[in-house]
Every structure is written in C-alpha cells, then in structure tokens.
Symmetry: C2
Subunit: 120 residues, 2 copies
Amino acid sequence: MATPINFQQKFSLLSEHWSPRVIAEMNDYQFKIARLQGEFVWHSHADTDEAFIVLEGCLRIELRDAVVVLNAGDMCVVNKGIEHRPCAEDEVKLLLIEPRGVLNTGDQGGERTAANDIWI
Amino acid sequence: MATPINFQQKFSLLSEHWSPRVIAEMNDYQFKIARLQGEFVWHSHADTDEAFIVLEGCLRIELRDAVVVLNAGDMCVVNKGIEHRPCAEDEVKLLLIEPRGVLNTGDQGGERTAANDIWI
C-alpha cells in the first residue's frame, strides 16, 4: 500500500547528526533522511552511485579536485568510486537515495560508521 | 563529475504537462521531473516500484481501493503491479525516481505515452 511520507514529520523524529534513517524503499533502493553538521570523513562507495537531495541548508560535497555546493532544491549524484567528503557549516537536512546496504562511510569504515538499515 | 542540479532551473526548461524529463542518473535509475495537471490514465508497472516526490502543488494518486494525497514535501512509493492514476486539479511539480526505461503509461500504453529517456 502506497503511504504518504512527509519529510518534515520524519525529521521531527531524528535529532542526531550523521545518522541516516530509512523512510522508504523502492525495489532494492532506499530513501534515507539525514541531518548533517560539521565535516564527515573522506570515503567512496566502490559499487554504487549515491544521490543527494538537499531539503534545507547548504551542503558542500568536497571532491579531490572540486567542491559541489548544494542548496535546498538542489541534488547531485556522486558516482561510484569517487572519493567525497560531505561538509555543512550549519545544519543540513538531506535526502539520500542509494541501494539497500550502503554504509555511510563506504569503503572507509571507522568510528563515524552509522548503524545501517534503521527505519524511522 | 558530480554536478549540482537545481530543480527549479530544470522546470524553467519544461512547460509541457505529462512529459517526464530525465535530470540525473544513479546506477541504472533515473531522476525525472514532470509537470502534471488533470487526470492521467490508469496503469501499472509490472516490473518495478516507482517513487513520487512532490515539489510543488498537490498530487492525488488514485489506487483501486484508496487515494494517496501528496503535498509539497511528501513522497510515496507505488509498488510494482499496483494500478494507479495520478491526478492534479492544479499544476503539480513532481520528481519521479524509477529504473531507466520505464514508460509513463506502464503496461497500459496508448496515446498518453510520453517519449522516454529524454534529458533536460
């Protein structure tokens, strides 16, 4: 059954930064909300592209040779294998779309790795 | 290279209703914008789920046994095989996410079938 999912209602249940939460699935892909603030770790995903849609705030995605700046109403796709580091001076509300099973730290791992596949 | 894609800038290039345009790809999935107004045809997609994100306006997705109402900031996923009919009294700006190759009229076909895989 198709159910309406409201982004702001879902964000009202999530206060933690850098902790993506699944809000919907389409085939084997997941839609995740995340609050970001500060600097993340450099990482890449060897097997998949990753889509970012900014709902609120300004997200900088640092690449090794460029910086992508996304404001509310912007999206971008970071292709598989591309090293990137999301950064946000002020809090950003983000929608992520990627296959089920993708870790937030990709191939990097480490202490910033969030629990995966947690629904909200 | 990750490139920022602004939804409103893309919509400024599209005036036609019921004519999805591809703005980004993630693996073998596509992000499409569409303007909808009026009633579409009943259809389903046998092989894939389909995600709808409303950016502006109010979209009604009629199902055989229910109606899903989506306002700006809402999304839903219509699962594969589920008959549905999108309707919009006033114009809706929509983001669709689905695998490359999906036709807007699904298994129904007919004169409302839009050209597929057209980028904007």
